[in-house]
Symmetry: C2
DNA sequence: CTGTTAGCGCCTTCAT
DNA sequence: ATGAAGGCGCTAACAG
């Protein structure tokens, strides 16, 4: 007597008085099964509280019904979390499960690329915002596993990304439109030679906007932070400047917020004394009133999931390279150039 | 000729000149296989870039090597993310995969509990910080799937949790120690009758601390917020108070931060004019200098994963109910009672 | 220590 | 429209 909770198709078949083949067909909604039989099978399955075993089904079909997401940062990170949320939602609609692979440090990273635990265990892999070495890319490619790159473009690999440079260019342009001319850029400098990070692309947007506005190259000022919470350091270098910019474009909201807090401590307030614009539209950006270049993470995740789903199904995506648009959001930290005078 | 990336054990066996059973044993490091043979098999597996199919292995062993986490909130949430990070780390050590189930709204929730997609597809399920109805608990229990509850205690179900009331009691006590007597409590009131949220337990800690300090019941003041970002509302009610408290204990950092920002806008600054303590130790608490009752989410996740792993292995945990300690962290928002006088 | 033999639970021809 | 049979890739006795 099988216990309810471990009922197998054989049990359902017995109870419904049909063969397991019929149960299988009925449960997948095959039109080859008569309505009456389907009803009987469904009832029996409910009765036994039967659920299909994905392992068995996957083994037989050669498709696991599971897609992996490789995340290069802690999951608690705003970006990782948002991407996972969006991917999850889309996969759930397709009744596909999500399994996570994380490589938040060198050790995990090496483990992933030597063991390749995703191999043969997911139908497709979404590689989320992750700067890969050539060797790593090659290793992934050798997997013969459908891949989707998120915020990284690689020849021949379907991808979805934002235009970092273009987004930042618009952000800086909005500062220029406010009348600012002396605009500084604050970057997170992870100092990992050989990689191109989004920060590198974003600073490019700053350069382009300034060049287009006719600001001479030598008037650009770039402040570096070793990590996204190094606002104090940045605030210090800012104060040390002989002729401080009236506006700052920062390569991430995280850093921008940190900088704002520290500037505030020193009596420099936005937008009264300075304009600050971030990048990402981090959850706390809205809450703190930070103006920013919004990156539509939800869209990134959804599009990536769509591509992965198609590839997993063996279909060939018509638009394998998706570019999603950023959007400048003005909140409370940007405004006109402060008029000099007593504070 | 099998392609590298789809090599199966049979291919490895052929190349190594042994049987598949030996390959299976060798790869799992069975001591029954001679060192020499193991070496040969390993070499062949590498050569073919072979990886085990968890689906097949799981099917044969009756264990999937996969544990699920059911999360009741968006994944981008500080709590979800942190728990997932910790669980992931622990599972990875045991070479167990993590699959996510999310029920962030009524629709997802109903879908989960009617379809029970975790059934027969994970070896154990961690139910993370999630207020379940009796019916839902019963449905889960009927699953005959090992369960671990995180931050929710249920008779007969292994669990790991913090002492919400005790933690808050200590937090409020630290305010009392600073000399405060008029201490208000700010709570997030989700208004879902029938559920007991952590907020309800935390306010209890406030009551206990105040009672122990001999503050009469009628001097307690409780401010309610409909959501964790409703600081403005709270700040308004605070200002409307005839005899405003000199300190505020808030049931979450999220809300505390929101309140702080709004108070600040109105010229009320911590700790100069008011002391504020939160609860959680959210990532932004440290960054914003918020004093708080730290909840060790990492430990919660790790312990939950340990329990799940044991249960999945069929072992009986010796300590099925783990209580992890909170810790009061003083940063910049708490201090002595402000001395009245000109500001 | 290694090979042989049965499945694990489902899906998919191929018959009927 | 349904059933029978074989196999997906691996593991677990059971032999030897």
């Amino acid at each position: 007597m099988p216990t309810d909770s471990h009922a197998s198709m054989a049990d359902v078949a017995r109870l419904a008085g049909v063969s397991v083949a019929t149960v299988s067909r009925a449960l997948r909604g095959s039109p080859l099964v008569s309505a009456e039989t389907t009803a009987r099978v469904t009832a029996a399955a409910d009765e036994l509280s039967f659920a299909i075993s994905r392992a068995a089904s996957g083994l037989a079909r050669g498709r696991l019904g599971r897609i992996g997401v490789l995340v290069g940062a802690p999951l608690r990170t705003w970006f990782s979390g948002s991407v996972l949320d969006a991917v999850y939602a889309r996969l759930a609609q397709a009744d596909v499960e999500l399994t996570i692979f994380r490589t938040q440090d060198a050790a995990e990273r090496e483990a992933f690329f030597t063991r390749l635990p995703a191999r043969r265990n997911v139908d497709a892999l979404i590689v989320a915002s992750f700067e890969l070495t050539g060797a790593e890319r090659a290793r992934l490619a050798s997997l013969d596993l459908p891949l989707v790159y998120l915020n990284q473009r690689v020849r021949g690999v379907p991808s979805v990304a934002i235009d970092d440079a273009g987004g930042m260019q618009e952000g800086v342009q909005s500062l220029l439109d406010h009348g600012h001319r002396r605009i500084g850029f604050v970057r997170t400098d992870l100092r990992q030679p050989g990689f191109v990070f989004s920060s590198d692309r974003r600073i490019e947007g700053y350069r382009r906007a300034m060049a287009a506005a006719g600001v001479p190259e030598q008037d650009l000022v770039v402040l570096s932070a070793p990590s996204p919470d190094a606002g104090e350091l940045v605030a210090r270098s800012y104060r040390a400047l002989a002729d401080p910019p009236t506006a700052l474009a920062v390569d991430s909201d995280d850093l921008a917020l940190s900088v704002l807090v520290e500037l505030d401590q020193g009596g420099v307030r936005a937008p009264r004394d300075i304009s600050v614009i971030g990048f990402d539209d981090h959850a706390y950006a809205a809450r703190m009133g930070l103006s920013t270049v919004a990156q539509p993470v939800d869209d990134l995740g959804t599009e990536a999931a769509d591509l992965a789903l198609m590839l997993a199904a063996g279909e060939v995506p018509t638009h394998p390279d998706v570019l999603v648009a950023t959007r400048v959001v003005h909140r409370l930290t940007t405004g006109p150039v402060p008029t000099p005078g007593p504070r």
